[in-house]
């Protein structure tokens, strides 16, 4: 059972630059071959600041946490019993290579189903422009923990 005292907990967050090489690798991994996802020139011709991050990429900025997966340990979630249950992404404006972003993590909710056989932890990630503070994206992630 995940301790409900963690509901509302917020992590201090971190800043990170969206690297072009990472976006190219991400595009390759998902089979995205359109040029605005890999080429600066093509992205600019299409009206973007630089290489465009695909529509689900905001979620991946949560993986840049300098403390790695410690946030899971701090809440008592073992990786081997973890599944991704649901995801929702709201993009306010495209994220592009070279953007410097501030990422903040928060627990929105914790609940159980099936008499405690499954725990659900709802995480929110806020991705904001690090300089001006403009919101770029919000993600809501439901992680499922199998107990026993």
């Amino acid at each position: 059972m995940i301790d409900r005292a963690h509901i509302g907990r917020t992590w201090p967050g971190w800043e990170v630059e969206v690297e072009p090489g990472r976006l190219r690798l991400f595009a390759k991994a998902i089979g995205e071959t359109r040029p605005e996802y890999t080429s600066v020139a093509a992205a600019r011709a299409a009206g973007y600041r630089s290489i465009l991050a695909p529509v689900t990429f905001a979620y991946c900025l949560g993986a840049d946490d300098p403390a790695g997966l410690r946030y899971l340990e701090e809440v008592g979630i073992p990786i081997s019993r973890l599944l991704h249950g649901e995801e929702k992404i709201v993009n306010y404006e495209p994220i592009c290579a070279g953007d410097r972003v501030r990422v903040t993590r928060r627990i929105k909710d914790i609940y159980s189903k099936k008499n405690g056989a499954l725990d659900f932890v709802v995480w929110e990630l806020a991705v904001d422009d690090a300089t001006g503070g403009r919101p770029l994206a919000r993600t809501e992630t439901v992680l499922v923990v199998r107990n026993g």
């Binding site: 690798l25 979620y59 993986a63 990786i79 019993r81 991704h84 249950g85 929702k88």
Partner: protein, 132 residues
Amino acid sequence: MADRFVVGSELPALALPPLARSTLALYAGGSGDHVPLHIDSVFAQAAGYPDVFMHGMLGMAYVGRLVTTWVRQGQVREFGGRFVAITYPGEVLTARGSVTEVDPNGRARLGLTLVNAQGETKFSGFAVVDPA
């Protein structure tokens, strides 16, 4: 563009190649999700799975390609869904979508799915897209 937002209109389906283990390794690198369940079959088996399995977010990224091929990425306001079933290497996935609602302002809601060759649903989701 907006005239395509008609309830029942279908997006051209996106057929994916059989899921390769190497794709999971690439996705782990590109996404930053290094959870070993997806890239280390020994770890996955010790955790009770028959093999490594696809990151749910890779499946969602495929569905995202479907959507952003049909509308410009900047039109996608919201994109979400549930990861319904686990996908193993070798499975052949197809992303499908259709318009389920159009509001008076011309904004459309899409119903989206990712299914394998046997018709098993892997991801069931939605997107809210602005008119062009």
